[in-house]
């Protein structure tokens, strides 16, 4: 029956583990294919931009593979996209560290690094932890987070976080040792999380299932 299902492409920018993203898709019945082929991206019903590796390497690889324009074209014509961790950061305009115009620029905003200190207290970076997500500007009942409760734990592993120019897209926030940051966003067909749902046990997997259901991908 697979040929009746929508085609979802997990974008492979050649930096490592896409295995668990694919496993999460398989588990909930998403017909997903790992690909770095431009034509696959252009033909996809929906895209997943996973979070593996370093920002600069990832953007360079996306450029070399001809995927930057393909992703933008697909997303601008309405295809759902799900960004995860670095995949969320890549959607933004620019990185504080790596300069302007380096991201995909689908969401206006900055990528910032956690500070080394907060009020003379050392902040351990990367933030590698299970941490809670809580509701921000939007109600999440109709989003992919619908099965989660406020303050559920999700798995984070990152040194950078996003700061959207327009805060209305912020779906959840998280506090790491006194620093509050945006931990997921939603804007039209774009949904993205700083945490890794595919590494966040059953509740995380529910996010894949509900994202697929909302977007009629099953």
């Amino acid at each position: 029956m697979d040929n009746l299902k929508k085609n979802v492409v997990i974008i492979d920018y050649q930096l490592g583990n896409l295995f668990s993203v694919k496993q999460a898709c398989d588990t909930v019945g998403i017909n997903a294919k790992i690909s770095f082929d431009r034509d696959d991206v252009l033909k996809a019903d929906a895209l997943i931009l996973p979070g593996v590796g370093a920002f600069i390497e990832a953007m360079n690889n996306l450029k070399e593979l001809g995927l930057v324009s393909a992703i933008k074209e697909r997303v601008n014509s309405g295809a759902p996209i799900f960004g995860i961790c670095l995949g969320q950061q890549l959607l933004f305009t620019e990185s504080e560290e790596f300069g302007a115009g380096n991201g995909l620029d689908l969401i206006p905003g900055l990528i910032k690094r956690f500070p080394e200190k907060l009020e003379e207290r050392k902040i351990k970076v990367p933030h590698i932890a299970w941490n809670t997500i809580y509701q921000s500007n939007q109600d999440w009942d109709k989003s992919a987070l619908s099965e989660l409760e406020n303050n559920d734990f999700m798995y984070f592993i990152h040194s950078y976080y996003v700061k959207p120019s327009d805060e209305s897209c912020i779906l959840t926030k998280t506090d790491y040792d006194g620093i509050e940051f945006c931990s997921s966003i939603i804007k039209g067909n774009i949904f993205a999380t700083q945490f890794h749902p595919e590494k966040s046990a059953d509740k995380g997997i529910s996010i894949y299932r509900n994202w697929a259901l909302i977007n009629n991908l099953l």
Partner: protein, 281 residues
């Protein structure tokens, strides 16, 4: 908030889960996937798989175990043992590992830490330090399960690992490892104060209280535990080990050591939460 992670460590030799004392004298405990599944259900925050004989053979043979685990277990998996190059790292990531743990190769060639963290992102690269306290009170880093002398000072090495861009450090007190006598709090708190990255403490957990002391006094960001959880598992469950390789006598006797008060991950986390330590239950 700031939470601590509880990470069961699974030392693997061939097809079996094993456990030693001071990283040596390995006993067979069972089938790795049985333990992994139980720990996942019990709320493990991550899993670490270590191929304990890989450095001897200079290869990691955990590929099948990793990809099987990653199909059903949706928490982060770190893999270590015998990883020597960018292509070795790429290979274990490709079969389902989320992070890699380097030791021997990193000490021999520190540049590998820099190259690997640039390529795969800092947070993918974990560096393990096997520390042994010398007669003069100095801590030196060893490799190959505490067998190979390097002469490298543990504290200088920890700072270097941080500078080279690794995402985390696992600090093992070889002296305490497998003994259940508690963590080396001086060692761990000093490492934690010297580096800007998270520190995972390993070696010595025999009782729940020691884990609480470690988090409070040792400032560890995460705790890696094997015996405490493994001995509980073999007491309560059946796990059929492959008897083709290694000593299964210990397993068949369903024994533990008097220095251990085995518990589940959930027991440990409940105790931590009762003591105002945040973690995911």
């Amino acid at each position: 908030m700031k939470t601590v992670r509880i990470i069961p460590r699974l030392d693997i030799k061939g097809p079996n889960l094993v456990k030693g004392i001071h990283l040596e004298g390995l006993r067979v405990l069972g089938k790795p996937s049985d333990f992994a599944k139980f720990y996942y259900e019990q709320g493990a925050d991550e899993l670490l798989f270590m191929d304990v004989v890989a450095s001897l053979y200079e290869r990691n043979s955990l590929h099948d175990i990793i990809s099987e685990t990653a199909k059903k277990i949706f928490i982060p998996i770190t893999v270590g043992g015998g990883l020597r190059s960018i292509s070795d790292i790429k290979e274990v990531l490709r079969v389902g590992a989320d992070k890699v743990c380097l030791n021997t190769a990193a000490i021999k060639n520190p540049q590998l830490i820099r190259d690997a963290s640039r390529m795969f992102g800092s947070s993918t690269i974990v560096v393990a330090i096997e520390a042994i306290k010398e007669g003069d009170g100095k801590y030196l880093a060893y490799t190959d399960n505490g067998r190979e002398y390097t002469g490298v000072d543990v504290f200088e090495w920890a700072q270097k690992i941080d500078e080279l861009g690794a995402g985390e450090i696992v600090i093992t007190s070889v002296d305490k490892e497998g003994t259940g006598q508690g963590f080396d709090l001086d060692l761990i708190s000093k490492i934690s104060s010297l580096v800007s990255i998270p520190v995972i403490a390993h070696g010595g957990a025999g009782k729940q209280q020691q884990v609480l002391d470690l988090i409070k006094e040792g400032n560890a960001d995460a705790v890696m535990i094997s015996s405490l959880f493994h001995y509980h598992f073999i007491k309560e469950n059946e796990s059929k080990a492959s008897s083709l390789e290694g000593n299964v006598e210990f397993l068949n006797q369903k024994r533990s050591f008097h220095t251990f008060e085995p518990c589940t991950i959930r027991d440990l986390k409940k105790m931590l939460i009762d003591n105002q330590i945040e973690c995911r239950l």
